[in-house]
């Protein structure tokens, strides 16, 4: 496991510099006017970033209001018995609700849980595994679809939430399997 991780880490350190040097180098060999092409492509960067703004504002402010109003806590309390029935430990419910909504919020929850239950507790392991195994669905939708101006997201939200739900149960199951 240790070796596997070291190798992966080395690869992840090397991949970026190799791509950044490799693309232009290969371009040179293929006689592409690399500088001109780079600048032409990079121009898009600003346009794409600005394009994302309205989508990101829409998603982030609504979620922030939801948290500030106390509605999120109510939702967490309300879902406790329901999710408890299907085997979710009550301490994991905040993580389950917050993970798809905000990345920084769920990192804060992991920190809270570390303070409350200790680093070695099985609950912290579950929460951290869930954090690592899925992305912030609504953020990804805003950024990926916003960049290309897609407004009608069709089944993107339910599919993303299914992935989050699967991540919740997979984390609980895998941590129980490995650590208890």
């Amino acid at each position: 496991m240790e070796l596997f991780r070291t190798i992966l880490n080395l690869v992840s350190y090397l991949v970026v510099p190799m791509l950044i040097v490799g693309f232009p180098l290969y371009g040179l060999i293929k006689k592409v006017p690399v500088y001109e092409e780079f600048v032409e492509g990079a121009k898009e960067g600003f346009k794409v970033a600005v394009m994302i703004i309205p989508y990101l504002v829409a998603i982030l402010f609504a979620i922030a209001m939801f948290r500030a109003s106390g509605a999120m806590d109510f939702l967490i309390d309300g879902l406790r018995p329901v999710l408890g029935l299907i085997g979710v430990p009550p301490e994991m419910i905040p993580m389950a609700i917050v993970r798809p909504l905000t990345g920084s919020g769920s990192a804060a929850i992991v920190l809270d849980m570390i303070n409350q239950y200790g680093e070695d507790s099985i609950l912290v392991k579950m929460a951290a595994t869930m954090f690592g195994s899925t992305e912030t669905t609504f953020y990804v939708i805003a950024v990926y679809f916003g960049a290309v101006n897609i407004k009608k997201t069709r089944h993107a939200v339910p599919a993303g939430l299914v992935a989050d739900f699967a991540a919740l149960f997979a984390s609980i199951w895998v941590v129980r399997l490995l650590f208890s």
Partner: protein
């Protein structure tokens, strides 16, 4: 679906904030206009002409509990300053003090006007006193939650712009590099390599289309935990998929599948934020994370496939446009 979730978030916020403020009003949570009994100890004997004097404020647990009807910590001693002027005496609590509820809410609420928690001190100490018992009347507090949701909305609108603008640099870098790679024919080579693996997941993409290569790059970046690179690559993959879409405002099945892949995000190297939070503990978790992330991504992709065939989404997919770029493959 997103329309309903979005509207739901906003309406529920308003509803909850309203209910909670009405409850505060009915219960008189903040005791607006009433004075909490406090004992003020002067550091040096009280001087009626001094503009400011350092003090220590003692609040008794029973007084606090009966006044606010809330739990109080046992030792309530706060550093503070007494200000005097024509308008009367004002008690200010030092900012580093950790205050019990509802005092900390009052401090946060009045933070815009007063840098510190402030209260009007009722009664007048006699010159030379070293201790004085009187009433502290805090600033009136109304509609705490309503204000909070307004403030949160403004704050996060700003945060969103900061995040988006912060992406400009890496977006420019990667989009520039990708343009070179495209011009040099690297993407076509990559497409040929990954096609056999990705074709079953993205049957909608014609053979040899560059979108396939971009998706492969995005997935690789995700797996290696390269958040910085994954986002621009994913956006580029979306742009490529848009060239196959006849209605640019509506997501195609392939685009939703890519999104499910990105939200599930198979990660072999855990994200930096998690490493920062967990420290060395992360070493034990990597194996579990890889299993969980594989399960969640698989479920997400299957859900995207299955949902696209249900009657709610079956007919809403925009028709694909004939593709020219991949014709030679």
């Amino acid at each position: 679906m997103l329309n309903y979730i979005w509207a739901g978030l906003i309406i529920l916020s308003l509803l909850f904030a309203g209910v909670s403020d009405i409850r505060d009003f009915a219960r008189d949570t903040y005791r607006n206009g009433e004075a909490l009994p406090v004992t003020v100890d002067f550091e040096s004997p009280y001087d009626a002409s001094a503009r400011r004097q350092a003090v220590t404020v003692h609040i008794s647990e029973t007084d606090y509990e009966s006044f606010y009807n809330a739990d109080a910590p046992s030792a309530m001693v706060f550093e503070g300053t007494l200000f005097q002027g024509e308008q009367g005496r004002e008690l200010r609590f030092a900012n580093e003090a950790s205050l019990p509820e509802p005092l900390s809410t009052i401090r946060d609420f009045t933070a815009k006007r007063d840098p510190e928690l402030a209260a009007t001190l009722n009664g007048a100490p006699a010159a030379g006193d070293s201790s004085f018992t009187g009433g502290a009347e805090f600033r009136p507090v109304h509609f705490v939650k309503m204000n909070a949701i307004g403030g949160a909305a403004f704050d996060f609108a700003e945060t969103a712009v900061t995040i988006a603008l912060g992406l400009i640099g890496i977006l420019a870098l990667w989009l520039g590099l990708l343009r070179i790679a495209e011009a040099a024919g690297m993407i076509d080579v990559l497409v040929k390599i990954v096609q056999p693996v990705l074709r079953p997941i993205f049957p909608e993409i014609p053979k040899g289309h560059p979108a396939m290569g971009m998706i492969a790059l995005n997935m690789t970046a995700n797996m290696l935990g390269l958040g910085n690179a994954a986002t621009p690559l994913g956006i580029k993959a979306m742009e490529e998929l848009q060239t196959l879409n006849s209605d640019p405002e509506t997501a195609t099945n392939a685009e939703v599948t890519l999104l499910a892949l990105a939200t599930g995000s198979v990660q072999l190297v855990p994200p930096t934020l998690l490493v920062a939070v967990m420290g060395l503990q992360i070493n034990q978790l990597i194996f579990g994370i890889i299993i969980a992330t594989t399960i969640s991504t698989t479920c997400g992709v299957i859900a995207a496939k299955v949902l696209s065939r249900t009657r709610w989404y079956r007919d809403s997919e925009p028709p694909a446009i004939a593709d020219q770029t991949g014709a030679e493959a």
